[in-house]
Amino acid sequence: MHPEITALRRSPPERTYIVRTLCFMAIYILINAAAIVGLFDDILGQPAGWAVAVAVTAPVVGQIWATLRLMAQSDEYVRVIVAKCFVLAAGGTLALWTAWGFGETYAAATHIPGWLIYPCFWAIYALVSPFVRTSH
């Protein structure tokens, strides 16, 4: 097989992870899109609105589960890479969120919604991944 094609081939755990990621991402986007177009307007702002909050959180939990399954089913090298990226992304997100939170408290920084922590985590994960893969 051509070297480039070989390089693009994914292992079964990686393929499963990609499918699971796309499914959870689709659920996350669909629920939020439904809320934006007003499908849940009757319950938003009321205690029943928590159902929407929990529903949109479910794919987030699912994504963490998919990542843990990828680590469990992959070889030791992939496991190390994913773990390093995860720890760096979690650490970076915690630091950024803490700094911004105190910025809001002490420096009148603009309030940002808490749900942004999830896209922030994956943005940092994507940012650190190439460096982790090429580092010793």
């Binding site: 097989m1 070989t6 070889d75 030791e76 090298y77 090429t134 010793h136």
Partner: protein, 66 residues
């Protein structure tokens, strides 16, 4: 960790993908070991040793020996 994996693989006429398949790991893992970006676990080092029928220290340089 310095090693002779690339040389041994080339002598056997295998690609990284071939070796990965024989070891039951990803091609990235083989590449990372060859380029000294990943130190294999003892279990994987023994698997490599058994595949090439060589002692571990003939494949991986022991940094604790002079």
């Amino acid at each position: 960790m310095k090693n002779r994996l690339r040389v041994l693989r080339a002598e056997a006429g295998w690609t990284q993908a071939d070796l990965a398949e024989k070891l039951g790991v990803s091609r990235q893992a083989v590449n990372a070991i060859e380029t000294e970006k990943h130190d294999p676990s003892l279990e994987l080092a023994f698997r490599i040793s058994a595949l090439f029928e060589l002692p571990v220290e003939d494949i991986f340089r022991n940094p604790h020996r002079g």
